[in-house]
């Protein structure tokens, strides 16, 4: 599988840290989307950031500079053929 078959997520110990990074990425014009954390990434409910893998390096710099706490970066395969399911 190529990288286009995956989605990349940053997980956080709490939503405050996630929102801090989300705000900073927006300020710097870097694309990210807040999403519910997939179960395959963590058994806890809550937000994570869906990011572009090409921005990962610069994001790591921002995380270090601003001392944003993250839990981990997770790469998950995109599920093919998702069919509507009531949540």
């Amino acid at each position: 599988m190529t990288d286009t078959n995956y989605r990349w997520y940053i997980l956080f110990p709490n939503h405050h840290q996630g929102l801090r990074l989300s705000r900073e990425l927006k300020k710097q014009g870097l694309k990210s989307t807040i999403v519910p954390t997939p179960r395959a990434a963590s058994s806890c409910c809550g937000m994570s950031l869906l990011i572009e893998p090409s921005d990962l390096e610069i994001m790591q710099q921002i995380i270090t500079e601003l001392r944003i706490e993250i839990e981990k970066v997770v790469k998950l395969p995109i599920k093919d053929g998702w069919q509507y399911r009531s949540s």
């Binding site: 709490n14 939503h15 989307t33 807040i34 519910p36 179960r39 806890c44 409910c45 937000m47 009531s86």
Partner: protein, 424 residues
């Protein structure tokens, strides 16, 4: 990751069962929402609320309770939130939009009850909704028979106050609703221990009006072609408006609207300018019920307006802010709320007028009239809706459905056939 399990445990929730819901939501959200192209950045706040839906807001409500405040769980757009906020309380919506909760409701309700009621009762009895666990009082109303009986079942769990919504719109009915609001003020004052002053009520009337104005602005943006936001995203904003802090919800909706208005200027949209435009009318689509919108918008058309309680009925009318006494303010509240055109009224020509007006304002190609299964009122009224729209040459299809995915492919086939007819 944020771990809310201690909080849910303190609330007496069934953690194992609730965990099944937590497991399903991310996939459903990604499947429905992340499959869209070019979503507005301003949707990120609403993505956040969904991601933390049983965490952040419930924690805020519990903080409010720790500080001595009361939380009122509400089900319907006829409950005057203004009264609750004027007494220092918080009004919040309650769970009721997922198939996950339906089987819990069916343990005590007849199977031929609408899924909204079954899901609501199930969410409470199965202990899988933090909002149902947190609310100190539920505020019901008399907009259908199923709900009237459901309040009696729920009142064994939590104090319930029922507002008697008149079933006609004569002058004496509007006066009767004024009386209901006055009674509600007394109930809320006694329950919170706070007196509702004209100043406090004036402030909360403005607060809720501001939320309505922000939602009006959002919907006004959907009149543009190409449409700058999908129907699924707009629906999500309205669904969240029932739960979120009203001032924050207005602020975040207005930020989203700034972006949408820039898109309109730049003629930037999420669907081609010639995409078919659909008006959805009927019963409410409570979060996370995104089924119909997903079907329509993955078939190449876009939902541009909802004439429903999770749409225009929620915010179209404002409360007159000029009243300076409780009597004047209550009169203004009653007049505003009684302008909402629910199928519980007889006759109810105002709703048909609204559908025709909105079809024109939003330049729709067709109307989908959707009723939740076993909603006798809306299903019966669909006959009159169909007749009135046919008289004006507006294509319409009626759908009766529930929350499950059982009829998903059947519905998709029917919707695609309807869109095909509109294209000819």
């Amino acid at each position: 990751m944020a771990d809310y399990r201690q909080m849910w445990s303190d609330l007496g929730m069934d953690l194992d069962k609730h965990d099944l819901l937590c497991e399903a939501l991310p996939d459903a959200f990604q499947g429905v929402y992340l499959s869209q192209e070019n979503r507005p950045q301003g949707m990120d706040f609403f993505n956040f609320v969904v991601s933390e839906i049983h965490g952040v807001r419930p924690a805020e409500l519990m903080e409010h309770q720790k500080a001595g405040g009361k939380v009122f769980g509400t089900f319907c757009v006829y409950v005057p939130d203004e009264v609750i906020f004027a007494a220092g309380g918080i009004a919040t919506g309650l769970c009721g939009g997922s198939q996950f909760w339906v089987s819990g409701g069916e343990k005590v309700l007849p199977a031929n009850t609408c899924p909204l009621i079954k899901a609501s009762v199930g969410a409470r009895l199965d202990k899988t909704c933090p909002f149902f666990r947190i609310a100190d009082m539920y505020v019901g109303e008399t907009t259908c028979d199923g709900k009237k009986k459901a309040w009696e079942i729920l009142s064994a769990e939590v104090p319930v106050h029922v507002i008697d919504v008149p079933q006609m719109k004569r002058k004496k009915d509007i006066e009767a609703f004024q009386g209901e609001i006055l009674d509600f003020i007394k109930i809320v004052e006694d329950f919170t221990g706070n007196k509702i002053t004209p100043e406090a009520l004036a402030k909360s009337i403005k607060l809720i009006n501001n939320k309505r104005k922000a939602l009006q602005r959002l919907y006004a943006a959907r009149k543009a072609a190409p449409v700058p936001i999908s129907g699924k995203d707009a629906l999500l904003v309205t669904q969240i408006a029932f739960y979120d802090d009203p001032a924050r919800c207005a602020e975040m909706t207005n930020i989203l609207c700034n972006e949408l208005e820039e898109r309109i200027q730049a003629k930037e949209g999420v669907f081609p300018a010639d995409a078919l435009r659909i008006l959805v009318t009927g019963t409410p689509l409570a979060i996370p019920n995104w089924k119909l919108h997903h079907i329509v918008e993955t078939a190449g058309a876009t939902v541009v307006v909802e004439e429903s309680c999770t749409g225009t009925r929620y915010f179209e009318q404002l409360v007159d802010e000029s009243g300076s006494t409780i009597e004047e303010q209550v009169k203004a509240l009653a007049e505003r709320y009684m302008k909402t055109n629910c199928a519980c009224f007889t006759p109810n020509p105002g709703r048909i007028d609204d559908i025709i007006r909105l079809a024109d304002e939003y330049k729709v190609d067709g109307v989908i009239d959707v009723s939740l299964q076993f909603c006798n009122l809306y299903s019966t009224e669909s006959y009159l809706v169909k007749q009135a729209l046919a008289d004006r040459g507006i294509p319409v299809m009626h759908i009766e459905t529930d929350y499950s995915e059982q009829d998903y492919e059947q519905l998709r086939t029917r919707v695609e056939a309807f869109l095909e007819i509109l294209r000819k």
